[in-house]
Amino acid sequence: MKNVKNANYVQIDHEIQISGEKDVIILSSPEAYKRFRWSREYFKKKPEEGYFIWVKNSINHPLITCISISSKNISQNPINLVIIEKDVKAEIYSICNAVKKNLCGNHVGYSKVIAKENSRLEMRHFHRWGKEDTVNSNLEFFLKKGAELSHNYKCLEVPMKLKMENNTYLEESSSVNFVITVWAKDGEVEMHDSIFLNGRESNGISRVRMIGDKKSRINAYSKIIANDAGTGHLDCMGLLISESSSINAIPELVNRNKDASLTHEASVGKISEEILNYLRSRGLTEDQAIDLIVSGFLGEEEPIAVEGSIVSSKLYM
């Protein structure tokens, strides 16, 4: 709890704590399902746990959710629903983790995000799991006309098995920018990430960054489907830093509209000797050079603002 005391929704095992916000309705999903009949069409099924966030007006600081496993053999099944109203700007930081490494937890999460017309959502999603956990994460994003979504998912400590599926549906002139970063060590990761360009001038970009460390396997399926005249780009990069790791990157472009434009680039490999030697010629040892390359590959650490102060996202992971 130490690092999540300022979160708006905290779930530890199955116990929840909610901290309200002006211009935002934050409830547990079962409560929202009961209170708002209209919300039922969005929930996949009647939720037993999870959060409901309805952002009615723009907010100038991030909303924070945290779902943690802290006891042995816990099985969580949160069903989350986020609604961003028309013309509203919002930022959400979502943390899912296990607080210890050996809890044998099971987390099956399903989240749906509706970004209404001309809304803007920046979502950062952090996962951190123990070696004996299994995790199944399913996210669906529905972007109405002119909506913009930036979604940054980062998992630097994977569970024994992580299965992730993201589907994003874009209407006219909406856009999504996905960045998925996974560092797999002693675990299996399977990621399915699909962007559907369903409206003209929609734009989807998906960037997947994977690090294959000791005894790990990553299968990454990235797909863009153009059903209308939009543009899309896939960028999958994998770095193998251990002999006992493997990465399969499978980008797929499906174009059903002659005016759509889809591109992709993909690369999977080890760190090049040329780069290692170059960094060593700057005085770094091989290990220091690898650390620097990996940290560059993983991208900048995002700061999180809580109560006016900036703290490192690492505190949340």
Binding site: N277, Y278, R280, S281, R282, L292, S295, F297
Partner: protein
């Protein structure tokens, strides 16, 4: 400072450098001229300790210490550094991050601000690439620097700008300039110039102007029989 003593080098089983002798004293600027593929860059990589360059004979002495078998980073710790002709692009790694890790010396240069938050060499122009290399090397505060083809791909203005930077930031350091065009000589005025052909140093002289004039007029082949050969007095 640096003494290369009768050194021969093989790369992938092929003899690249043959019995090289070179001695650079404190504060001296030496230039090594030579046509393409004469072995100049191999001398850079061997001196810096790159793994594919196998010293099969002779040794490299730096400040009295035999460094022939030292790792690259150990040589750098002793005060050696190099500006490479073709430094690699490193996606994801910003120049600022690298400088943060390696800098022994603070560098405040206005032009640097444009590069700091960019990934190293990704989309850099020729001038930016060389500038970034020089800044990295300056930040290491070395006592000996090799410049591999610094003048390649640079216009005169950029070359003048970068050589001024070298003069101001690396004053009194020992320098080995590798070049086959020779344009850089008039900016940095070497104390001694050497010519390398087919992996051998065939000529050494203090009269860089005369050597360069000879090369400009007759080409590198003339150096093999030139009367200045091995004349360092």
């Amino acid at each position: 400072m640096l003494k290369i003593d009768n050194m021969s080098v093989k790369v992938n089983g092929k003899n690249i450098l043959k019995k090289i002798n070179l001695e650079i004293n404190n504060g001296e600027i030496h230039a090594l001229l030579g046509p393409n593929a004469s072995g100049k860059s191999s001398l850079v990589y061997t001196t810096m300790g790159f793994p594919d360059y196998n010293v099969t004979g002779g040794k490299i002495i730096f400040n009295g210490k035999d460094i022939t078998d030292l790792q690259i980073e150990e040589r750098v710790k002793l005060g050696m550094a190099s500006v490479f002709q073709h430094p690699p692009s490193i996606k994801g790694l910003k120049l600022s991050k690298l400088l943060e890790k390696i800098s022994k010396k603070n560098i405040e240069l206005k032009e640097l601000n444009n590069l700091l938050e960019r990934e190293i060499n990704v989309g850099f122009s020729g001038g930016e690439r060389k500038f970034s290399e020089i800044v990295q090397v300056i930040s290491l505060d070395p006592s000996f620097v090799i410049f591999d083809e610094l003048d390649a791909g640079l216009d005169v203005e950029n070359l003048e700008r970068l050589t001024s930077l070298i003069k101001s930031e690396l004053d009194n350091k020992s320098i080995l300039l590798i070049t086959h065009r020779g344009r850089i000589l008039k900016f940095l005025k070497p104390d001694i110039v050497h010519v390398m052909i087919d992996g051998k140093i065939v000529c050494s002289s203090k009269d860089w102007k005369r050597i360069w004039k000879t090369i400009e007029v007759y080409g590198y082949e003339k150096c093999k029989e030139c009367e200045l050969r091995s004349n360092r007095s």
